[in-house]
């Protein structure tokens, strides 16, 4: 694995800082919903999947059963199967490394790894993003859980717009070839279509079908931009 380029490290740290703010809001929301401080922190340490955590706490807070909280949370997390498959060719083959890497497999680390035009940087980008977000998310959760409502609503600062914006920046390299554009457009269209009709989580997972559309429109070798050659 070559040294991770400084631009990638900077992007990973920036991403971590932005996600840390959401960690704060998770801490606030979780303790507001009645979770103890250690429990809120344990969620972020061991589940470490933002959307899943927010959804599960929401279900618990509204009086739902643990089973309902788990089912809702895992439905939202189902997209990680797709992330793992996508990262399969990019991470080293060591089984032990992969068992460890799985804990840090999140939206951010997948997006950073797959955004690398030079595939040799993918594993480094994965670890930098995964670890930086892990540290920031957990610190943020602890701060939010301890200091609670004194911190105010992150939405007032426009921070809820940071999440899609960061992923748009990470999507950009995928849009350089026809297959990636087709996959992204059809995935987005399908997800939006499903939002009113399916439980949260389903639209994003269904968006994966966009990859098949991309494959159909631009099979391997059809597009010179796909080539791994520098």
């Amino acid at each position: 694995m070559p040294p991770t380029p400084p631009a990638v490290r900077r992007a990973a740290v920036t991403l971590g800082a932005a996600v840390g703010v959401f960690g704060v809001s998770f801490g606030v929301v979780a303790t507001g919903a009645g979770l103890s401080v250690p429990m809120a922190c344990a969620f972020s340490l061991f589940v470490f999947t933002g959307a899943t955590q927010f959804a599960a706490v929401g279900v618990l807070a509204s009086g739902g059963s643990p089973v309902a909280a788990i089912a809702t949370g895992l439905l939202l997390g189902a997209r990680h199967i797709g992330y793992g498959l996508a990262l399969h060719p990019l991470l080293p083959r060591s089984r032990r490394r992969r068992l460890l890497a799985a804990q840090f497999l999140i939206d951010e680390s997948t997006a950073m790894a797959t955004a690398q035009t030079d595939k040799r940087n993918a594993a480094g980008a994965f670890w930098w993003a995964g670890l930086s977000v892990f540290v920031a998310w957990n610190l943020g959760t602890a701060v939010g859980a301890v200091f609670g409502d004194a911190l105010g609503d992150p939405a007032d600062l426009g921070l809820d717009a940071v999440f899609p914006a960061a992923f748009l920046a990470l999507l950009a390299p995928h849009l350089r070839d026809a297959g990636g554009r087709a996959a992204a457009l059809s995935g987005a269209a399908l997800a939006l279509t499903l939002v009113p009709f399916t439980p949260a989580g389903v639209p994003i997972v269904a968006g994966a079908i966009g990859a098949l559309v991309g494959l159909r429109l631009a099979p391997p070798g059809a597009d010179p931009a796909d080539s791994d050659a520098p």
Partner: protein, 102 residues
């Protein structure tokens, strides 16, 4: 919230299983170029879906609010090849500005 701990244990185990599945299920086999191509396209589709859902969905409703302004600003910044930090700040600034005036 005593039943929080069982929920937490189930979610932690389930989330880890979802994450590890895709990394291990294909094992050591060498993959066909078509499969590799499909796997390379998967993040584009999933990330695009994640972006639009986190911008335009409010529970099960489709809405256009300050987040859309943030995404538009981010789009311009990405198109102008701005750095990652600039993209993020442009989005937050645009969303906060729209919220402040509405």
């Amino acid at each position: 919230m005593t039943w929080g701990w069982p929920a937490l244990a189930g979610l932690a185990a389930g989330s880890y299983a979802l994450k590890v599945l895709g990394l291990l299920v294909l094992g050591d086999r060498t993959l066909h170029p078509t499969v590799l191509r499909l796997l390379a396209l998967l993040p584009a589709a999933l990330i695009a879906a994640l972006i639009v859902v986190s911008t335009f969905a409010n529970e099960r409703e489709l809405v256009v609010d300050a987040r859309a302004a943030g995404l538009a600003a981010a789009g311009v910044a990405v198109w102008r090849r701005a750095s990652f930090l600039v993209v993020v700040i442009a989005a937050a600034g645009a969303a906060a500005a729209v919220r402040a005036i509405t």
